[in-house]
């Protein structure tokens, strides 16, 4: 299973980035391979419009089964994610990626329904 975290850094110790569209890093944790791979998303800030869509495209291409983030995707990004249908968990801001993962595993993060 692949879990995506919106993050402010590329390590397990980095803090979760509450923003989705302008998240600085996208971290993918592959549970089967026990591998954490980081994608630098900061270039999304180089465009005037559509950070949400640009990030959503990247997320789509990474195709995670689960997304762990802070505020949740805005309406532009949500439209893309509908085609992927991941499980989205929110309100992980303030936690490190590691702690967020632990909380998710314990079932303590709130899930967002994608209507």
């Amino acid at each position: 299973m692949k879990i995506l975290f919106t993050s402010t850094g590329s390590e397990w110790s980095s803090k979760i980035d509450p923003r989705f569209g302008r998240a600085e890093y996208l971290l993918i944790y592959d549970t089967e391979k026990d591998e954490l791979i980081s994608t630098d998303n900061r270039s999304v800030n180089g465009k005037a419009h559509g950070a949400g869509t640009a990030t959503a495209q990247k997320v789509f291409d990474l195709s995670p089964d689960v997304i762990i983030t802070g505020n949740g995707p805005g309406e532009n990004a949500a439209r893309v994610l509908q085609h992927l249908n991941p499980k989205i968990f929110i309100d992980a801001q303030g936690l490190s990626v590691k702690d967020a993962y632990e909380k998710y595993s314990a079932g303590d993060l709130s899930q967002l329904p994608l209507s």
Binding site: H49, T53, Q57, F60, H83
Partner: protein, 292 residues
């Protein structure tokens, strides 16, 4: 009063919001309409207010569009080139389709024209409306952006084209506040820009930015100070020190605010009317010297 046989495009703008652009535009237009045909254009398309003050009949509503790409499932091979081409991230490839974000599209046509399968034909996307409201000699064109649209510039440009095709008389453009792209799109094509300010530190700060914008567009401009008598003298001094003409001073008067709050024009109020009248005469001199 002089006959206005030539087109004169007057923009009414400001840096700061709430300084009195609409107050001035609607009353000046009403004043001119007492003796001549006049066109008032409300370009504050995000929050158009002129129709509150100009009471007349809506004779027409023209829907306005911008062109956006439409995905053609039959032709597309999902190569994803269009996603790379779009500089505004308005296209996303979700594996089995291309999702188009009309709200982000700038209508550059690049994706559509460069698609090797011609799978993104352009179609019209409704962004807002232009209403035509007539009140005797005064015609009001109101641009109104749909609430879910985020970009005012395309609509503002549409309204300018509409004006050029259909009207040739004294034209007053009530512009949106600020000094960014909407203000530039509103005022850049005008013959003269009237900057409305207030005698406060905010008014002065924003006036300087508006002056920068006017100079960037190489447009002649002048200033009207509203709420004159309140605040301080810094705006007046700044204009004097920089050779900027102050074409009018609207006095700070609570009864003006009260009448405005009710959606009323103020030409029956003597002290206000005389400011508008004197402003009009000065603008006439400017118009005549521009044509000469």
């Amino acid at each position: 009063m002089a006959q206005t046989s030539n087109v004169f495009k007057l923009a009414v703008a400001s840096g700061k919001g709430g300084t009195g652009k609409t107050l001035l535009s609607t009353n000046l237009a009403s004043f001119v309409s007492e003796f001549d045909d006049v066109l008032l254009v409300d370009l504050d398309v995000e929050e158009p207010n002129d129709s509150i003050f100009v009471k007349g009949l809506v004779s027409d509503v023209h829907p306005q569009y911008k062109m956006v790409p439409q995905w053609d499932v039959a032709r597309c091979d999902l190569c994803g080139d269009c996603v790379d081409i779009c500089n505004f991230n308005a296209l996303v490839n979700v594996g089995k389709m291309i999702v188009v974000y009309e709200n982000l599209c700038h209508s550059c046509h690049a994706c559509s024209e460069l698609c090797h399968k011609k799978a993104l034909p352009m179609k019209k996307h409704h962004v807002g409306d232009v209403s035509v409201i007539k009140s005797q000699n005064l015609t009001l064109l109101e641009g109104r952006l749909n609430v879910n649209e985020e970009q005012p510039v395309a609509l503002i440009n549409n309204v300018h084209s509409l004006v050029n095709q259909n009207w040739s008389k004294y034209q007053i453009f009530d512009s949106p506040p600020g000094t960014s792209c909407s203000m530039v799109a509103s005022t850049g094509k005008c013959d003269y820009i009237l900057l409305v300010t207030e005698p406060t530190p905010f008014g002065l700060n924003d006036l300087k930015l508006a002056v920068d914008a006017a100079k960037l567009m190489k447009r002649p401009f002048g200033v009207v100070i509203n709420k004159y008598g309140s605040g301080n003298k810094d705006v007046e001094e700044y204009c004097r020190d920089n050779g900027i003409e102050v074409l009018g001073k609207i006095p700070f008067d609570i009864s003006i605010a009260e009448r405005y709050s009710k959606g009323e024009l103020l030409l029956d109020k003597h002290c206000f009317r005389s400011v508008v009248s004197s402003l009009y005469n000065k603008l006439e001199n400017i118009r005549i010297s521009q044509n000469g």
